[in-house]
Amino acid sequence: MADYGLAPLLQKWGNPGNMGVCVACFERDIAGALGLHRADLVQYIRPEIVGFVLGSLVAAYLFKEYRSRLGSAPIVRFVLGVFAMIGALVFLGCPWRAALRLAGGDGNAILGLLGLIFGIWIGTLFLKGGYNLGRTQQTHHTAGWMLPIFMVGLLLLMFVFPQITGEAKSGVLFYSVKGPGSMHAPLAVSLVVGLLIGFLAQRSRFCTMGAIRDFILFRQMHLLSGFIALIVTALVVNFILGQFKPGFDGQPVAHTMHLWNFLGMALSGLAFCLAGGCPGRQLFLTGEGDGDAAVFVMGMIVGAGIAHNFGLASSATGVGPYGIPAVGIGFAVCLFIGLTMRKNIA
């Protein structure tokens, strides 16, 4: 339970509003720091993401659950990652942030969470109809290490090219001088909290998509109780820290276009469901050696680049110029995948 209160604390320590932790936003910031997009307000290598993967890796090794595996339709997972990110950036957040936004009093998050449930519900219809991405295969340890090594590389880049106050670039890395990308807790704090959450989430199998999916499919409350505990704990901590500000207008890094908050998250929810995990869970799976989850993560990072380069991502003023058609295309692609990849798993 303790880790659920850490997100609002990260906000207190410097992270953006109602964004103590957001996997989609943070991967988008990483894409920006690497120059995959040039939205100058959202560029920062978020050490929390590095911590999630490495914390999970440590837990997986300690408890003998590390198993290098891949081969379950990687390109499909990449595409799902791209559209999961595009949907998340139309809403402005992953499911974790939707929960944290709600816990911070942002009413727009209600639309996002309803959209998430709707998208996952569509996904469960495909699952019931025999949808699956096929079997994985065990492989060399090295394959499972690829994304954890990439994460270590990102961290090393931060040490070699540290942020310089007031500078938008340090060596090869881009940094934000203002905006959400400039707001962050101290590196060591972010990293340690990330490691802790990664470790605990690997053990608990924490997954926001799985929470809703398993309730719809099996009436299983196991994961859902964790998701609800996150919202309740974050709400309590926000009250204590004076960070609870109810309303729809003027919420941090949020817009009030209800339909697109709903549909953006619905697209993400569908993509998460088809890919078998929320963005956080995909990072934790990566730490366990799941190379397919790693491909999904890469899809999300590339998706963030596409979203900002093509004007698909929303901002506080509303959806981006091409955000609406992108959601339409995303649904078409996800429905095509869901309808055509069935059974035949022998």
């Binding site: 659950e65 198993r67 595996r69 379950s72 699952l127 019931k128 699956n132 096929g134 079997r135 994985t136 295969q137 065990q138 199998r205 799985g210 999916r213 398993d214 499919l217 099996f218 299983q220 196991h222 078998g276 366990e288 798993i345």
Partner: protein, 72 residues
């Protein structure tokens, strides 16, 4: 009658869906579900228990868990 489900290489919810389908079919009173990750082992066991079945064994061999569940 005992049945075996090969859910190796599949991640949840597939192993659980396959197990529940077999339980619903009503032919088997013992099902051995082969899975190769801990999360699936836990999920299959939890789903079986929630349907009133018992988990008799979860033995691991070469990275594969043979989750044996029995009716009643």
């Amino acid at each position: 009658m005992a049945t075996t489900i090969d859910a190796r290489g599949l991640s949840c919810p597939q192993p659980v869906l396959m197990t529940l389908d077999e339980i619903k079919a009503g032919k088997a009173d013992e099902i051995i579900v082969m899975v190769d990750n801990d999360a699936s082992k836990e999920n299959v066991s939890r789903a079986a228990v929630s349907r009133g079945w018992t988990v008799a064994d979860c033995g691991e061999k070469d990275g594969v868990f043979n989750v044996t569940i029995k009716k009643g």
